[in-house]
Symmetry: C2
Subunit: 349 residues, 2 copies
């Protein structure tokens, strides 16, 4: 997969763009001024594999709280500010590693200059983020929403560029996945700033996973996207897990246990689902990339299992364990889960 | 979205290709010879929104059972046969609406001719299906797997074409999503047969949803794909639900309640997640397409809610109900779920 060439920026010690690996972001759901809860969530996100965390800054107390959060946060912290330049300046003072703010939303030119200067001094990038939902109505009249989004993003960007500020990252989000895909494709042709991918307000559970996977997946498969944030209503840890799965699916990250298992059909010789589900639960803590096949059918089973690091294929008269393409031994059907976990233990150190 | 031009075929009364809507398939997980269980599952699949169902035919009893299944099935039935031409002929006699069989796997030319002739007489299409896992080793030496898959598919197709049989559908599946995407892109350039999309052996739960969404979603977004089967280990009804979500996400089908809800952040003013989850559960039976916004924040809330058929945006001092862009009334936070369900009842007739 050929990735789009983008400018390299750094959020704290995490590179974004310039051909570096696609990073995973999330956002805390706790009140930022509640330092303990926010840090607890950041630590859970870090363990889940998050690379960069964003915190909302709706008030001065939250901007100040970033100081204490930064002291213990294992992840770079981005401050998310909507209109108030004072919150931006205070977040910078508190040690934020990045800002998410749209300069076009700040009324006075001198305030924008203050922010840009402060960011320049400390090498803090600014993310310009356009959301189709909060798009200025005058921009979106008589043209496709995706075009209006790109124009809006370029408007914010130009303000920064005129201040000689180029440490920029851009996001173009929508809850309509087609709009989001189109807007990012269009933007990718205009500037070389790294792109932060995301579908917004994607809902919960399966609907959210499908929307995020398609929106982010389509663009990544075209080489567009330098960092991503999955949006799911609920515990942000799930956003990180889905982000990792999206990257793994496209071969952009290799982590954890990938299970190759057949959808069950009339040919199945044992209860694939319950073994897969149990094995999945018991293998979540493995960090290395391991491909494991659990096949309930002699037709596709051995073929797929050959491609895996190890696997089982189950026929009428028992099961067979494979390891990197070679049959290791016959096993009984009752031992399948046990044998799979034994094999896995080699990778789990 | 511009869709690839393909030949129109029909599985029973369900058109596939030729610019007709992308249909959703699944496969029963019951033994086909267990007619009652199989019919129960087919009926559940039909209620969930499945358009075409496939049943495995591993033995003669299953081929014969198709007769009784067809009598009561609300869906067209495709018989899935691997090697035995007799099972194919018997399935045709039983009234199968489609076959999934690879002619290259049948040893004698006369047997293939018998099947093609019988299918031609009854307008039964044949799906040629190539799976990277069961690819002939000699084909895949020294070339990319995707290329070998396309060559394998073309080999099977040529056998049918030489018999003047063109009522063909093709699938190129892999558990490696990049391989599956590449194989389908390559095939789409060679012939105009409709394509059945699928990632195979995708595993369970979130991993499976992500892999299917990306593999199928990327291709559909390029206009490739005429019918699809999501592959998830477990109850096939979930495959249909995910298939519908993939199509809805890309604007290829408009059904059911789409919830626009923000990922929670430090700005949230009430418990978005629990309301969204409750509303999601209580709105599953709605068939019409309705876009509902549930926003826990004044920043993005009203903007997103404007795009929805109706929605709520919640601020510090209560909530507001919107209907097609217009504020209808103020409501209390405790009434949000109740009011949403009342609004929904208009669409649920």
């Amino acid at each position: 997969m050929k990735r789009r060439k983008t400018r390299l920026i750094r959020i704290g010690d995490m590179p974004v763009g310039g051909g570096t690996p696609v990073s995973i972001q999330s956002m805390t759901s706790t009140p930022t001024k509640d330092i303990k809860s926010t840090l607890d969530e950041i630590k859970r996100l870090a363990i889940a594999g998050c690379d960069i965390v964003r915190v909302g800054v709706p008030d001065m107390e939250s901007a100040v709280a970033i100081r204490d959060i930064k002291r213990e946060s294992p992840l770079p912290v981005v401050a998310d500010i909507h209109f108030d330049y004072k919150l931006a300046l205070e977040s910078i003072k508190s040690g934020a590693d990045g800002l998410r703010i749209n300069p076009g939303n700040i009324k006075k030119a001198e305030y924008i200059r203050d922010i840009a200067d402060a960011c320049k001094d400390l090498c803090i990038p600014i993310r310009v983020g356009v959301n189709s939902g909060s798009l200025d109505k005058s921009l979106s009249d008589n043209k496709p929403v995706a075009v209006a989004m790109v124009e809006s993003a370029l408007g914010h960007i130009q303000i920064l560029e005129e201040l000689d500020f180029f440490d920029i990252k851009v996001s173009l989000k929508s809850s309509d996945v087609n709009v989001m895909i189109e807007a990012n494709r269009l933007f990718a042709e205009t500037r070389d700033y790294p792109i932060h991918l995301g579908v917004t307000e994607a809902g919960v559970d399966t609907q959210a996973i499908v929307k995020n996977s398609i929106g982010i997946g389509v663009l990544l498969s075209e080489g567009i996207g330098d960092t991503l944030r999955v949006s799911i209503t609920g515990d942000p840890v799930i956003e990180v897990e889905v982000g990792k799965l999206i990257l793994r699916t496209l071969g952009l990250r290799r982590e954890g246990v990938e299970i190759i298992s057949c959808p069950t059909c009339a040919r199945k010789e044992f209860d694939v689902e319950s073994v897969v589900r149990d094995f999945d639960k018991m293998s979540r803590n493995v960090k290395d990339y391991v491909k494991v096949a659990i096949m309930g059918c002699v037709v596709n089973g051995p073929g797929e299992a050959r491609e895996a690091d190890f696997g089982v294929a189950v026929g009428k008269n028992g099961a067979v364990l494979f390891r990197k393409g070679e049959v290791v031994k016959k096993i009984t059907k009752d031992d399948i889960l046990k044998v799979l976990l034994e094999e896995l233990s080699v990778y789990n150190k």
